[in-house]
């Protein structure tokens, strides 16, 4: 088949589900990350920093063996060369993947929420960047401008580096790369990069109003950045990994996090027509009734981090008009299960989740390393759904 036709056929399945129509079959979109490189025997470090053709080779090797309808992305999302020049940052990269360093997420104290709320960009630039990167501390303004110019050039080079393989994957392999961009919801920025888990857990109890006000201000900064260079909605999704919600008690979630989900979906999906993809980490079962506040019939897909297919069926039953359900295939089964067990699980996904559409087959967790699933099992799961998931 012609690659343009194949691309169209694949992305149309995704389109149909996002538009709440019945596709020809259940789309297969494994939650693929650096597993792809290990499967292909390609060094992640080399692919991400030295030879962009290695990204294409890994995608080609994988997609020739595993039937799927889209890749979320190639996973090269951290400008490692830029980071190295300013002092490494919070990520390290090896042949096997990209890892986050232990304490990278604690960059500010609770007393500083007022400063963050007052002017997030100023706070980031004048306070947090010199704090995080020694190279900025004590440097003259001119020296800082020089460092920034180099960082700007490195970031442009990083964007260009990815454009090559990304274009080839779509054109030469007919494989859609479905994520067009990432927007964190602001409470997750505070968790992941500013206060870390211990800090934000205390803040929820002791400084919740300051936390909320800072998150509102940070949300506006994130939206402003998006709007500065926004292009119209297309057939791809805006991705947000939701990290904080399930660490909050439901009543705290309702006050401190749900408003941001609602605001974002109403603005981006309802008013502006973008497709939204939330990676919903951990167990969402205690929060389902609260999610009924989210708008109905939007292009919003949630990948739930659970291999419990009965729970997913319950989520679809209660929230199917609001959330297109993605997931179902447990990486534990892909790692430890027999081929028959994998097929039984894939069959259960189709039986319980596929009827009437609104479902995308995927893995419950991100496939980072070969420990997240044997090739035989990943292939078996995807083959089963492509062969048996027809409507």
């Amino acid at each position: 088949m012609d690659m343009n036709e194949l691309y169209e056929q694949r992305i149309r399945r995704f389109d149909d589900v996002m538009n709440r129509k019945l596709p020809d079959r259940v789309p297969v979109v494994p939650n693929m990350n650096t597993w792809m490189y290990q499967f292909a025997g390609i060094s992640v470090k080399k692919a991400f920093t030295e030879d962009a053709d290695e990204i294409f080779r890994a995608a080609k090797y994988m997609t020739e063996q595993i039937p799927m309808d889209a890749l979320m992305s190639t996973s090269n999302t951290v400008p490692l060369n830029l980071a190295k020049k300013v002092g490494e940052g919070i990520y390290t990269c090896s042949d096997n993947g990209v890892q986050i360093k232990g304490s990278g997420g604690h960059l500010m104290e609770s007393e500083e929420y007022g400063l963050l709320a007052e002017d997030p960009m100023k706070f980031f630039a004048n306070v947090l960047i010199p704090r995080k990167f020694e190279i900025f501390r004590g440097a003259s303004t001119e020296k800082k401008a020089e460092i920034i110019k180099q960082a700007y050039a490195d970031n442009q080079a990083f964007i260009k580096y990815n454009q090559g393989p990304n274009g080839r994957i779509e054109k030469e392999l007919g494989m859609p790369l479905i994520v067009r961009g990432t927007n964190f919801l602001s409470p997750d920025i505070v968790l992941d990069y500013l206060r870390d888990f211990v800090g934000i857990s205390l803040d929820v109890r002791r400084h919740s109003q300051q936390l909320l006000e800072a998150c509102l201000s940070l949300y506006d900064y994130i939206m402003e950045m998006f709007n500065d260079t926004a292009t119209p909605p297309d057939r791809k999704v805006l991705f947000s990994p939701l990290h904080l919600p399930t660490y909050l008690r439901p009543r705290d979630f309702a006050r401190l996090y749900l408003p941001f989900m609602k605001k974002y979906l109403e603005e981006m999906a309802v008013k502006r027509g973008y497709s939204i993809y939330f990676f919903m980490e951990n167990n969402w079962m205690p929060y389902l009734d609260l999610l009924k506040e989210l708008p109905e019939n939007t292009k919003f897909v949630g990948l739930f981090e659970t291999g419990n297919i009965d729970d997913l069926a319950e989520i679809k039953r209660r929230l199917g008009s609001r959330i297109i359900v993605m997931g179902g295939m447990s990486v534990d089964t892909l790692r430890f299960g027999t081929k028959d067990e994998v097929i039984d699980s894939a069959k259960k996904c189709l039986d319980l989740l596929a009827p009437d559409g609104g479902y995308i087959f995927s893995t419950d967790k991100t496939l980072m390393t070969m420990n997240d699933g044997t090739p035989e099992n990943v292939i078996a799961a995807c083959e089963y759904v492509t062969e048996n998931g027809k409507y």
């Binding site: 999302t77 990520y91 020089e146 110019k149 700007y152 500065d228």
Partner: protein, 49 residues
């Protein structure tokens, strides 16, 4: 925590503006367009590297 902030004062944001002006001049583009990219670069420094 390496340093404790007491205000938003500092010259790093100004350094981003200076860098944007220099890049705009070198590339023959307008400063506002480059500053939009700089806004993202500031965010990237804190959240992506």
């Amino acid at each position: 925590m390496a340093e404790y902030a007491t205000s938003l004062e500092g010259d790093t944001l100004e350094a981003f503006r200076i860098a944007a002006e220099q890049i705009a001049e070198e590339q023959g583009t307008d400063v506002e367009t480059v500053m939009k990219s700089m806004k993202k670069l500031i965010y990237l420094f804190v959240t992506r590297i």
